[in-house]
Amino acid sequence: MSYFLGIDTKEAANIAAIDDDGNEISYGDLVLYCNGLQRTISSRSLVFHFSENSVDSLCLYMACMHAKAVPLLLSPQTERDLISSLIKKYQPNYIVAPERICHYFDGEVVEVRGNYKLLKLNSPAHRLFDQLSLLLPTSGSTGSPKLVRHSYHNLEMSAKNVSQFFGLVATDKAFLFLPMYYTMGLSVIHSHLKVGAAIVFTKSAMTDAKFWSLLKESSPTVLTGVPYSFEILKKLRFFRMKMPSLRILTQGGGKLSKELYDDCLQYAENNNVEFIPTYGQTEGSARMTFVEPFMSTSKKGSIGKAIPGGMLSIIDDQGYESFEGEAAGELVYRGPNVTLGYANSLEDLNLDDDRHGILHTGDLVERDADGYYFIVGRKSRFLKLFGIRVALDEIEKLINDSFELDCACGGNDQKMIVLITRADMTQKVSDFIVAKTGLFHQSFEVVYVEDIPRNETGKVIFNDHI
């Protein structure tokens, strides 16, 4: 049986992962661990994996992948009611979770590793599409039942192509603070394991002293962030810090402000580091485009070109598709990392490939004469607040299911605006959103309006409130 990402072909003594609790595991031990659990975890079963950034969390994830079980990665901070409704809907066969939330679940403990447990639930066997490898939620924290279906081919090819354009080798070491359940965090893990490199996991907040001591002491070569993480890094004077081991600084998860982009560029120049901005979506197994480091100065603000194995095009508003020359319209991506499609129910987990390698991104772009792409807007209804994708329809549904009022969500990546039609409910709705989603209260505003303002095509008008 072949191993996920070929981990059995790596130097057995090399470290695969370490974390800020002082745990570590070598490739050899990781393979042994996966072997050991192969009979415990039924093949083609469904697993809810509540992922912390730790060695134990990684080991259980890799064991699921090796046993050909299908994990859905979720934040351990997901609100309990939302977890219950996901369990009811998808009836997982196993739960992988840190000790502190295990009391949510009624199951038999079949494996313990550090503070992590593997629980077997009393759910029926499922019919899962034979190429289905992994599920990720479409929306960061709303407990959305809409999932992205990944194939084995998606993950293997994405790991291969991403490690190729970064030029990753076995001596690399990624410092990972982005959560494992977040597509880009997972991409960092896969691309490094693919080449036999190491991952340094931290679950400490950037405002913890532990985060900074690990960052300095672990001598990472690759650092990956989203725009908000670079804001914090800057505030805490990262750009003045000397990190001799660092060779790649990379960013995804939304557009950097002009100022932060320049800071990254300047840091890279002064410290002999490559700055590589990337763009992608969960639907494309994280990364779809990147800017070559030698172009990051001349093509500021660009998302660059397709990653190896991928191809970009634009469909303009006349429906005409073009692959080169200046154009504007919706960005389309083709490549082996394009996921199978969505699932909205248990039955959907048996669906075949809906996309056949073609992804209509919903992002509006322009392409210049040199073939570089620039994001100018978004067709789809979601925001990225602090790097977390927030589906506006999901928030509207959560509010509508719990309150008797009309509501509409809009805004931009700095702030979400929630219009509601009852003046006495603004604080209640605001508290509700915080409780359900964990969003910071200053990242959105609940505004009372008498009626939801709409234009003649029925589109909600938010302009007055942004």
Binding site: A205, D208, W212, I232, K235, L236, F386, V434, F440
Partner: protein, 80 residues
């Protein structure tokens, strides 16, 4: 408003709590909402309000209602 009132108002706004819960036990271990987003927002508002610029170790160290006061004292801001 005196500096204590201002200091308290920044806490109540950042954490969406009533003033009477602000005491020696109000810290990053006891307040569930206290994450890096909150802490950064708290510190940035302190900096803007008191017109100071904190060192990284003080931003990281700003982990309780009480400690905050002694950190601000280093920048000649007396909370009283």
């Amino acid at each position: 408003m005196n500096t204590l009132e201002t200091y308290n108002a920044i806490f109540t706004e950042t954490f969406q709590v009533e003033e009477n819960v602000l005491d020696t036990d109000f810290n990053s271990d006891t307040v569930e909402k206290w994450d890096s987003v909150c802490q950064l927002s708290l510190v940035t508002t302190m900096e803007d309000t008191f017109d100071i610029m904190m060192e990284p170790e003080d931003i990281i160290g700003f982990k309780s209602y009480e400690i905050g006061k002694s950190i601000l004292a280093k920048y000649d801001v007396t909370i009283a």
